[in-house]
Amino acid sequence: MTALEVIGKLLGCLVVFLTVPLLVGQLEHKVMAHMQSRLGPMYAGGFHGWAQLVADGVKFVQKESVVPARADRRVFELAPLVALLPYLFVLIAIPVAPGHSAHDLSVGVFFALAVVSVGVIGVLMAGWASANKYSLLGGLRAGAQLMAYELPLVLAAASVAMAAGTLSLDGIAHAWHWWWLPYQGVGLFVFFVAALAELRRPPFDMPLADSEIVFGPFTEYTGLRFGLFILAEYAGIVVFSALTAVLFLGGWKGPFLETGLGWLWLLIKTFLLSFVVIWLRVSYPRLREDQLQKFAWAGLVPLALAQVALTGVVRVATA
């Protein structure tokens, strides 16, 4: 691999990172609107408001960036980057076609889960450094939620890695067959739900709960830094949808032209999963804090353990 190739692939990751989350954001605007019998943005850019998010971005850049007087300045300013950058790094490991990712790691699953888990530090930093009680409450809730849902997430990923016999993301996509849908179905459910909770998306948006704690850890943020947090949310949706697609839905596998159009199959699956994420936001009310904890520890963890046990039995029986 030449240096030019490496730079090209990294630039590709950056372009994906800067465009696909915006597409998902626009999708959310329109899908939510239509599910609620509205039209959503219709004017920006002319055709069905396609440029709404561009306009939003310009607005964020123009706004004044305020740091509260009692805030811990350095931590406050660093937090949005710590929340956003992990998602950029994870994109490096996602295989877009057989044997093609920006960098294929032999321990890809662990790399992805490890780097994604760093993002929560940014949210905790924001919650603490804002010197605002709503932010602190939001940060606390985010921390508690992340610790509860990290375990089922890792267990579900471990199950599919066991089934494939490899930790490489490309290797898992290679080993995938259609009958993994029922075989790893419980794992798929657990992983996707835990991912929603990691992203603090409704119905798991207790840390942000706008009706009680304003906007949780992001209450004091304005302008570009606020925009970065919102971008992190949509980048997170893309990354977790792509990871779910690679781990549980065969990634670049499709009915035809896998080598040529692998990236397209992955993109279609990613967008379908992103659509489900938006759909769930419109459909379900927010879980209360105690319901949220109970759902993780008494619901998802046993399910994930059962899935790991099933995979283990099948692996030993067919070995």
Partner: protein
């Protein structure tokens, strides 16, 4: 001296400096955040030594879970919004003694077991999941089981401590 040696040395310096800042920081949240830098540099050290799997587990467990738990605990118990009183403990000498004793034991142990050990990172197997799994479940299975039982005991103990059957 190869490029890997230089990178390893630099990461070691970052790790050590961050560790010093952890114990000298006057703010408990700052200390926890410096711990993130320290653990991150340590994970980098593992990567240079081709222990890929250990490096990412270090990030997943120590940065993604242990530091998050510490930050959560600090925010929950001290509720330190904004600037706060510096954290100073009166039993510094005891803490210094305990720290020095632990460091003494660990340094003696590591020097005694790995004295003169040298790994040529260009001619060795990359420490991915397969290599580590083989080592743990084939040669160190007893140590693995003992650690599991220890962790299970700690887990049960924590549940017993926090449970109140009175109500």
């Amino acid at each position: 001296m190869t490029g890997a040696d230089v990178v390893f040395g630099l990461l070691g310096i970052v790790c050590l400096a961050a560790a010093l800042l952890v114990v000298t920081a006057r703010n408990v949240i700052h200390a926890a955040l410096w711990l993130v830098v320290c653990f991150g540099a340590l994970a980098g050290c593992y990567l240079v030594l081709t222990a890929e799997f250990v490096a990412w587990v270090q990030v997943l467990i120590y940065i993604g879970a242990v530091v998050v738990l510490m930050l959560f605990g600090a925010m929950l118990t001290r509720a330190p919004i904004g600037r706060q009183q510096p954290l100073d403990s009166t039993n510094r000498p005891v803490a210094a003694l305990a720290g020095l004793a632990t460091a003494g034991i660990l340094v003696t142990l590591v020097v005694a077991s790995f004295k003169g050990a040298y790994v040529d990172i260009h001619h060795t197997e990359v420490g991915d999941g397969r290599v580590l799994g083989t080592a743990v479940f084939r040669y160190f299975v007893l140590a693995f089981e003992v650690a599991s039982v220890l962790l299970l005991a700690a887990l049960v103990g924590a549940i017993v401590l926090t449970r109140s059957d009175r109500d």
